[in-house]
């Protein structure tokens, strides 16, 4: 049996229309279509519909670009935002929560500054590590834990994966979804060690620059946080700077680049 006798699959017909076939296969499909009018008609209709789409929308690319899409202008605003975010962070760190909150109102960057994500993460951490019976929503044993949280938070099922922190004696308990901003939830993974100390990893999708690891204390718990791609991460646990930074570093390395678009 030669190729010429093998029925042409639908996939191949689509690939033919879209110019994805090699010249050799193209010739074979040409010959097939010459003797199979039903397939030829479908191919013709796909081409006609593609043409309708191009006629309907092709002109948009020739319209003048509105000023709000001017790259130089957007880049200038970008610098202002970055500066504003930095200023808001400085205020937040120097003056504590209240001043940080007001500072945020005065100099609001497009997304909340990392400090706010960290505060939210610490709040969630304190709330859920204290839970005896329901610290998590979905156990680590559930296969869908990672893809579910990844899809809900990042939009892609494979971007976010709870890091393996067993080198620090930490076992993944599971995770939960939390409200963060309208339409933009946060993921919280929880870990526990043999001493029953609990650590959490909090992740939200929010634009912002990549940052190195930062450390912030809130009473007897602390957070290490960073930005990577579109996601801000916060690792929270007992306030032990050296240990938490090591755990944060390990999580950072395992999560690096998975969430970049």
């Amino acid at each position: 049996m030669t190729d010429r006798d093998t029925p042409i699959t639908d996939d191949e017909l689509h690939a033919y229309v879209d110019g994805e076939l090699s010249p050799e296969r193209r010739k074979i499909v040409d010959a097939w279509l010459a003797t199979h009018p039903d397939d030829a008609a479908r191919v013709a209709s796909w081409r006609a519909h593609a043409e309708l789409i191009r006629i309907r929308y092709g002109g948009v690319a020739h319209n003048p670009v509105p000023p709000r899409l001017d790259v130089a202008r957007l880049a200038r605003n970008q610098r202002r935002w970055t500066f504003a975010a930095a200023a808001a962070m400085v205020i937040a760190f120097v003056s504590g929560g209240a001043a940080g909150w007001f500072g945020r109102g005065a100099l609001e960057p497009p997304g909340p500054p990392p400090r706010t994500v960290t505060a939210d993460a610490l709040e969630a951490h304190k709330l859920y590590i204290a839970e005896v019976r329901h610290p998590i929503e979905v156990p680590a044993s559930a296969n869908h834990l990672n893809p579910w949280l990844s899809r809900r938070v990042v939009g892609i099922p494979t971007s976010l994966k709870a890091p393996d922190l067993s080198a620090f004696g930490l076992k993944l308990m599971g995770g939960r979804l939390l409200p963060w901003q309208p339409g933009q939830p946060a993921a919280l993974f929880m870990y526990e060690n043999a001493a029953l100390e609990r650590y959490t990893l909090y992740a939200v999708r929010v634009g912002g620059p990549d940052t190195s690891l930062h450390y912030d204390v809130s009473g007897n718990v602390a957070a290490v946080y960073w930005g990577d791609g579109e996601v801000r991460f916060v690792v929270s646990g007992p306030a032990d700077r050296e240990k938490l930074l090591k755990i944060g570093q390990a999580a950072y390395e395992q999560l690096a680049s998975r969430t970049r678009t």
């Binding site: 690939a15 319209n63 670009v65 899409l69 339409g183 634009g207 912002g208 990549d210």
Partner: protein, 163 residues
């Protein structure tokens, strides 16, 4: 202006075209493009070579998915004014038909079809943009075309057949 920014700027007309076809609303489309540009400029340091335009399509496609998700609780996502149907003649009629046909598509299928036929991306590029295997792109494309054909052939929107 840096080479990166020049490439971003040169992609804007195509991004607007894609966004317009994806959302079928000029203002929403330009909002999406603006958001895409802001994020791309902010993440310039993350871009290590490759095709800037494909990368921008990726950002825009993801932003649109988020937008649809946040809208999904509203009763009507894309209201289509049926009063338009009265004017059947004229050069506009075909354009409105294809617009309606696209509106009946599942979001991922619409994006795959538009990236291929309107933006001229290869299957491989679409797979990267959508973050799925090429086989998935091809099945999205096949379903999209079958649905558009069925809609334009005057049938009711096709129910998914289970084989």
């Amino acid at each position: 202006m840096s080479g990166f920014r020049q490439d971003v700027e040169a992609s804007i007309p195509a991004l607007r075209r894609y966004a317009r076809a994806l959302t079928r609303d000029g203002d929403v489309a330009d909002d999406l493009v603006q958001d895409t540009l802001v994020r791309a400029l902010r993440a310039e340091h993350l871009f290590h070579g490759g095709d800037v335009r494909s990368w921008l399509y990726t950002i825009l496609t993801n932003l649109n998915r988020n937008r649809l998700r946040s809208l999904s609780r509203r009763p009507s996502l894309m209201p289509i004014d049926d009063n338009d149907a009265v004017e059947l003649a004229g050069p506009e009629a075909g354009g409105r038909d294809i617009e309606r046909a696209l509106a009946t598509l599942v979001d991922e299928q619409r994006a795959a079809l538009l990236l291929v036929v309107l933006e001229g991306l290869t299957y491989r590029e679409v797979a990267q943009v959508q973050g799925v295997p090429i086989g998935t792109v091809m099945s999205r494309l096949a379903r999209a075309r079958a649905q558009v054909k069925s809609y334009l052939d005057g049938q009711r929107p096709q129910l998914r057949r289970v084989k």
